[in-house]
Amino acid sequence: MLAVQLAGLLDGDPEGTGEALALVDGFDDALVHGLARLSEERAEAPAALAGAFSATPIGDRLAEAAAKVASGSITEEHLTALAGGRAALFGAVHDALLADLDAALGRERAPWYPAPRSEQDTAANLLGGARSWLRELAITGWRGVDHDLVSAVDQITEGLTVVPGLRRLAVLLDGFAAELRASCPVGTMEHLPVRRWADLWTRALLLAQDGVLPGEPRPVATVSGRLLILGVDVHEHGTAVQFQVHAVLEPADGGQARLVRTSVTAAKVDTIVGPALWKLAHDHKVLLAALAGHLSLEVTDLPLLDGGDVIWHDDRASLGKPADPFTTARLHLAGVLAPAVPPLERVPVRIAEPVLIEGYEVTGDGSFDLGGSVLAVDTARLPGCGPLTPKLVAGSSACVGLVRWDGGCWLLQPLAVQAKVKRETVAVGTGDWAQGPTDPKVVKAEARSGDAVAVLRERAGRLLRQ
């Protein structure tokens, strides 16, 4: 990312973003206090949200839903319509932001083609249970949430977790409910993550509609070629961790190089943290070896989804030559084809666009100053399972990272940096410890706390099958 590109990106929000976000904020504020207690000032919020759609085919449905909710008749159907409205507004904000980012980077993005339909899982009772819990939440409002209301979702998530096609909803509800539980009684909490919880509620309600989640992933193609890793983005809550690898695929047939993501998600518990997380992905040895060793991968016939996600199969990959993420970024990021974003995933939080940035000055608060344009660096969220630290980032001379947008600002999330360690320039990345930590201090600390995964698996073996 060049100084002129960053300057272009930071040159004002896309037109209409402020107005769209104001409507979203109004609706989110109504969820804080509960739709059952819409006072005068907040009663307008659902109607204002609906008003934005008056000239569209869903305008009438939204207007009706807003009117009914304001009059106290809060049905699942009305809530779904309003959640759809909020998702559409945020989707439009996402599209405008991503278009700005693509324009600034000069990045070409593939058009979206729908994947073929596949068999649906029929778990109507579980989905219905999830929807009715989400309705109770909306009626009660975050401020009214107590232990009983949170616990009511436990059985539903337990059921959803074991249906492979519904894992997305299970993982989302589990993370959401854990936050509500830890915040109980929410009424006394000082600050509320207002937009975040409305985001989670909205997405959960959409995923809980019958037929939204496919039983099986629906590939649009299979791909083969050389995979060059840029870095790994780690997502984590108490009971799940996702390792999402960002890479450039050089297709075997010689076509244009494309940006892809490939992921491994494992279930876990809150006491499995730090470098021990990698043990949960141990079935994917080839992928872990490539991450830890900075190696390229030769892949054959991997399914490609409509959003640029490649479904990882460890047995269809082999290790290739050394590949440094900085070399990959310098060679490929300028002319790479970025994937389309599927409709349901169009939300600003999903924007995570790989860039290379160098030649910056690090400012006092850790931001990168590139020729006078300042990009905030999200060093508060470097994963504990890797060697990248705020100090390394602050002392770096080049960085491969993800451009994100949150809370009204563009941010850089580092995946790898080039920094001087003991007078030698080295590349340090979030995936370097994929086969175990290499820092003797961290190895020692790990040994002190013992093997959490093994201890809990032993307990599970003994107690779950009695």
């Binding site: 993982v171 984590e236 809550h237 992921s263 990882w312 809990l456 307990r459």
Partner: protein, 167 residues
Amino acid sequence: MNDRSPDGEAVWAHRSRLRVIPPVQPRKLAKVPFVELADGRLQGVVSSGSDISRVYVSSIAAGTHNYNCSTNNNRPCGGLYGSPCKHLQALTAEAVLQYGLDRVATYLRVEVPEGADLIACLSGGHEPAPAAMVFSRFLRHLAYLEVPATTVPIPEMHWFPSEGAVH
């Protein structure tokens, strides 16, 4: 930037990517495999020192600080002679390691003077509490380790950034 700082209201209100629950600290799990702050109690499961297949369910209520310890079959712990048994002591010690003293003390609503032991500051007495619910939450906790990993992407995880790099 710190999400949990006192002036973080604007950050909290308008950010989508936050870690609302602070990550817990790693600790040895063999003696006390399960600790949680939930349902108005500090509660957990403590391995028996003598029988590898037996566990004790121990809990301390927030506010009243009344405590209980029994086997998972509700047989009372023999160590409760008018004061917390060694299982309860292990539970609080491990809870402090996992969550930090501040978080446990705030949850239990107890003042702990500097340098004092948390358990010595509790004023409650023995009060029977059902062990079955805590034990079933522990089994549910363990069941996560039996759920197979998946390579299907979960886009919703973008809301849950990892954090904790402090080496």
